[in-house]
Symmetry: C2
Subunit: 421 residues, 2 copies
């Protein structure tokens, strides 16, 4: 009970500090925020030894992590330099605050503008990657938001060392240290408190992590959540696909990187696709080490394929595994994606413009592509600069969430004494 009270008090201090810092950030000029980001990048470089020492301690804790998780956790000089460069790249982005999103004049002379403003205080709950500490903080700072970061306990020492460098950047620019704060306790109850909004001080929660983390956040949160759920992405090779494009795009969409949310997880082959093209695509994939799980038609066509179960159509493998199904035309492809997809990213490969436009228009996914790899589902590839994730919800922001998506807006109305009749 006392512990709970003490934790609640600590978290309350974080919330109030963040809210006050958010007021200062809201009005901070672009140059001040950029100065802080550049100084933070410099401090990250200068603190490389301390950050790596803290990271070694995290790595040595033997928390029973798998090799994959240890690799995510591990920092080296190259990764620290990449982190510093990432923060500098955010400084180079155009300022998202103060953009005039629309402006019009009413018949009564009122001049109305919709102007981009910061959201306020953002809580970010993430897992073990230490670089998220720097990336997420930089994006929030650039967009004028205060941030409360809650990383995984495995990376606690690394995150604290990185925070130290980020706060040095804030100090150099005369911005409050509370603009970027870290929940230092590893008590999981702290997450629960963040999800209640810390007495109205948190405006938005962004979970970055696996399905169970995002699920918990969506279930418990009493404040808005910008969630990135799984990416069960589809590539549909239409009857009128150009064979060379189809082969290149499918291999890239599945295998360029298998662990990202924009990787294709299910390939839909049109029943009218030339048999040779279908076999060629499956052979290309298998030759690069991809396991094929097919329906009966696919297994007849490509005997090395394992049988796909109903479960496979629902699965985000994040691995060199692909489920493959034969569908009878674009409507059947759309129906399959509507049934099994996660509204993330889907592609059609075809030279038939009408079929492509039908696919692009009918699907309700955050990103739909024609003749391009699903791996383009990325803020950088969209030209938005760094991103905090790919939103799969319907509200506020869908697709890549970059600095513009971390703003909201207000209406500024200039008049000359108008009253409403």
């Amino acid at each position: 009970m006392n512990d709970n009270k003490e934790l609640a008090a600590q978290m309350c201090v974080l919330g109030v500090g963040a809210r006050d810092a958010a007021r200062a950030l809201r009005e901070a000029p672009a140059e001040t925020k950029n100065k802080a980001l550049k100084a933070a990048a410099k401090a990250v470089r200068e603190s490389a030894a301390a950050i790596l020492a803290a990271n070694s301690e995290d790595m040595a804790r033997d928390a029973g992590l798998t090799p994959a998780l240890l690799d995510r956790l591990m920092l080296d000089e190259k990764r620290v330099e990449a982190m510093a460069k990432g923060v500098e790249a955010v400084a180079e982005l155009p300022d998202p605050v103060g953009r005039v999103l629309a402006r019009w004049t009413r018949p009564n002379g009122l001049d109305i503008s919709r102007v981009a403003t910061p959201i306020g205080v953002i809580g970010i709950i993430y897992e073990s990657r230490p670089n998220v500490t720097a990336d997420a903080a930089a994006l929030c700072l650039k967009s004028g938001n205060a941030v409360i970061l809650r990383g995984g306990s495995e990376s606690a020492r690394s995150a604290a060392a990185i925070l130290c460098a980020l706060q040095a950047g804030l100090k150099a620019a005369g911005l409050p240290a509370e603009a970027i704060q870290l929940v230092r306790t590893t008590d999981r109850a702290a997450v629960g408190l963040m999800l209640t909004g810390l007495n109205g001080t948190i405006d938005l929660i962004i979970p970055r992590g696996g399905k169970s983390l995002v699920g918990r956040v969506q279930n418990e949160a009493r404040v808005p959540v910008l969630a990135h759920l799984e990416g069960i992405c589809h590539t549909y090779v239409h009857a009128a696909a150009d064979p060379a494009k189809a082969r290149a795009v499918v291999v890239n969409a599945k295998l360029r990187r298998t662990g990202i949310c924009g990787a294709t997880e299910t390939l839909l082959l049109d029943a009218k696709c030339p048999r040779e093209l279908a076999v060629q695509i499956l052979e290309d994939l298998a030759a690069k080490g991809c396991e094929i799980r097919g329906d009966e038609t696919i297994r007849a066509l490509f005997p090395a394929a394992k049988p796909a179960s109903e479960e496979d159509w629902h699965t985000e493998y994040l691995d060199a595994i692909l489920s493959v199904k034969v569908v009878d035309g674009v409507e059947a492809a759309i129906r399959h994606i509507e049934t099994y997809g996660s509204h993330h990213t889907e592609a059609i490969i075809t030279e038939d413009a009408a079929a492509a436009e039908r696919f692009l228009s009918a699907l309700d996914s955050a990103i739909v592509l024609w003749n391009a790899s699903t791996q383009f589902a990325d803020g950088g590839e969209f030209g938005m600069g760094a991103e905090i994730g790919i939103g799969t919800g319907k509200l506020h922001a869908r697709g890549p969430v970059g600095v513009e998506q971390l703003t909201t807006f207000k209406y500024v109305v200039r008049g000359s004494g108008q009253v409403r009749p």
Copy 2:
């Protein structure tokens, strides 16, 4: 238990029906939706007798309603005609779906568009005004969303009669009747089920009603909520205010209609305002029947004023009552509003452009005005057509929520075989 199961089953049917209807609506051309709206307006007019008879039954139930609530509930021929006209006005609005919100080409040739799309299924929970049934349904239909309406039990018969007309409109245009559905049970557990999202079928909940309804929705909802909280709106008369504008705007902001969320609830008078202007403004208000609750300086200036308590600065009166405080300069005005306001709408009256711009920039309210009445906080006055309310949250939409704000977007990417390096 059996009742609960039965209710859950009924609500599940509504949810699945709405989701399927949303798929049809998503692709419905503007002409089809407008045809349905015009036919619905016609059916409302033709059903006027049935709607009025149902409304008489609602009025006769003697549910212990206050005269104000009975007036909200009451329909007459004029109000039915206004409802039909409102639906027709929504038909006349430009179609918000399919708007290309942005379009750019990447160096690799990818052509990226951000295109407005419907949200999906919207749940609207409202109180006794029967016209909300038609207004909200029309706005949802126009924006390509299916809607599940849950009105107050007091207006159940009126709402059912109005629904009948709206569904006749859908039928005339060949759209599914499930595009507009009404929760017919008066069991309050139905609201709880809607707030869970009905097995993932509801994408957004919009509460329309008082503080306790909105509070319950925000607390229990497991799906995104677009809430309109209270409007504790401020008008600040700066030292450099034009006296004639100040007098006209303050009276209008407070008294044009006292029951709307954009009505000014607190007047801030600058300490450097001419004494005669301050007194004149208070006399204008008092002469029109407004009760003044002032701080000590105001009471010295205007002895008829009652003393304002701390509670008054937090209060949305929705009545002919105004709290009045003297503040020392624009920064003090901003601090007062940040402390007591609800981030809805605030106005400054001044001829000093620098003071005005400081006020407009510093405040984090959905709408900030210079030399205009806070009563302009309205979708119609903004030129958006009808609105479903004024959003006071930070995410997705702030300020007037019209048909454009009831859409989301997706990215449509057109390529020529691009793969990600």
